[in-house]
Symmetry: C2
Subunit: 338 residues, 2 copies
Amino acid sequence: MKGAVLYGPRDIRFEERDAPRIIAPTDAILRLSATCICGSDLWPYRGISPVAEPSPMGHEYCGIVEEVGKAVTSIRPGQFVIGSFATSDNTCPHCRYGYQSSCVHREFMSGAQAPVLRVPHADGTLVATPELPPAEMIPNLLAVSDVLGTGWFAAVAANVQPGKTAVVVGDGAVGLLGVLAARQLGAQRVIAMSRHPARQQLAREFGATDIVTERGDEGVARIKELTKGVGADAVLECVGTQESMMQAIHATRPGGSVGYVGVPHGVELRGEELFYTHVRLHGGPAPVRRFLPDLIGLVWSGKINPGKVFDLTLPLDQVAEGYRAMDERRAIKTLLRP
Amino acid sequence: MKGAVLYGPRDIRFEERDAPRIIAPTDAILRLSATCICGSDLWPYRGISPVAEPSPMGHEYCGIVEEVGKAVTSIRPGQFVIGSFATSDNTCPHCRYGYQSSCVHREFMSGAQAPVLRVPHADGTLVATPELPPAEMIPNLLAVSDVLGTGWFAAVAANVQPGKTAVVVGDGAVGLLGVLAARQLGAQRVIAMSRHPARQQLAREFGATDIVTERGDEGVARIKELTKGVGADAVLECVGTQESMMQAIHATRPGGSVGYVGVPHGVELRGEELFYTHVRLHGGPAPVRRFLPDLIGLVWSGKINPGKVFDLTLPLDQVAEGYRAMDERRAIKTLLRP
């Protein structure tokens, strides 16, 4: 089969790879219905995270089970399933506390920008839909796999509560779905920070009540202004840079919470500065598995349409153009059809 | 009157100062029944925090109201009152959220190592006892003013829950009262990290179930061992150094919480490292005012005896010896009698 492999900065190739097969008895093999490119794939693509050797790319996926290992009991061939970018046994103590992305058996998935994928710990990682979904629902289900699950965790980690004010830093796909999540979790006011008209528009569709175009200290001042000088109850940090993290922390009221899901790159927090902000900080790789059943339910019932973040759809063999479009911010997120 | 003034590293003087008087109509003047030396006073005493000019010291206090300004309505002369090291109006939005130590009118108290003290925003800062306390209760009430309130906030910020496991990093007075707080809040297991026999003993009296003498990575390994490899649900960081903070973070399970109340000195947190720990972080200057009514109630009813942390009592004019004893770790905490 052919899949996407990153060789170095901006050098993504669609090339022949060995087809995955069952290795451990807890594995499953999926034929993917759709896959996509993640904002986090751009870190190595841009050379910001080094690439030591050619790396099969992709960790967002949904599709039909082709084969399962002998130990798999809850997933069977023919089912349509969705999994997280982090595998989990869903039984270890960390999983039972809802932190499946810190599972003792965690592996970070890769190689999902391909037609076929091996998923370890299938029983603990994959969740099946009630029946085979209609084609038009597939982008929504694919979004659940990472980008919605991550935006949702940002909102949960930021302790979004009904009636409260949430701010979302970052207008990438995760940030936009953070807006959707904050709204679904009952925030009365959701302030999206974005200076990009198409993303502002989508933020509004997902439930943003206000848009702030300023950044950094000016952005913080604007949030203070909009909250009568108090600061926001909940701030979702969906970027991962020093500037975005400090913007999130300073936009939060004392006792409020920052939920951060953008993988931090070069972020350093000064203990004393953090101390006097009185902010709560929680984040990390999203435990998407915790949210999968509920989020699949919301998609299945038509209550949410997170697949709207895919504003470019390409056949898998044009994966390189998909990366370019996201790198140049021509596309929010690229869906790939194997 | 005479009070304690810090001139520079290890240069504390007991010298004549102007007696405080009402300045603003919201002030109160207290005649102090007892005052004490805080672990945080040792930072400037040791020259770690610079002292720009001679500074009146002390921010923990309780005593009898002598006079109140014209705008004070809830406190009256003759009452025995306790206040926090941070003044608060107790009506601003931050106060209403329970973060009185981020009050828009916050002032950090100083000059309490003296017989008489001016307290701004008396109505929002001071809480009166039901009646005048017996002499033997005064150390317990003095402890509420900062060291118990701060240990209590560490436990609350670390999200200590009934039946869970708490770890306390730091065996100073705040850490020891963090042990008491964690136990009062229902922790089933409270692991105190201390290598000092007298402090271990007091930790046990306050409810510690286990003592760990190892520090740093070895301390973390021991906590992991005691929690079946999982890590603690709640960790109270009561020191404020890079080592203690990292020890606290790494002793916590994914999804568990670190409550940090040691004023950070030179602490830097790497965003990416924090991200993958999945730890919750909350702390800052303790909003003691939030807890004052409940903590005074616990002392008044005899349920807790936090004043046990005072293992040295001196007349106020021997304040310099009080500092020396704490600096040399001969005393946990020095109570001073004006």
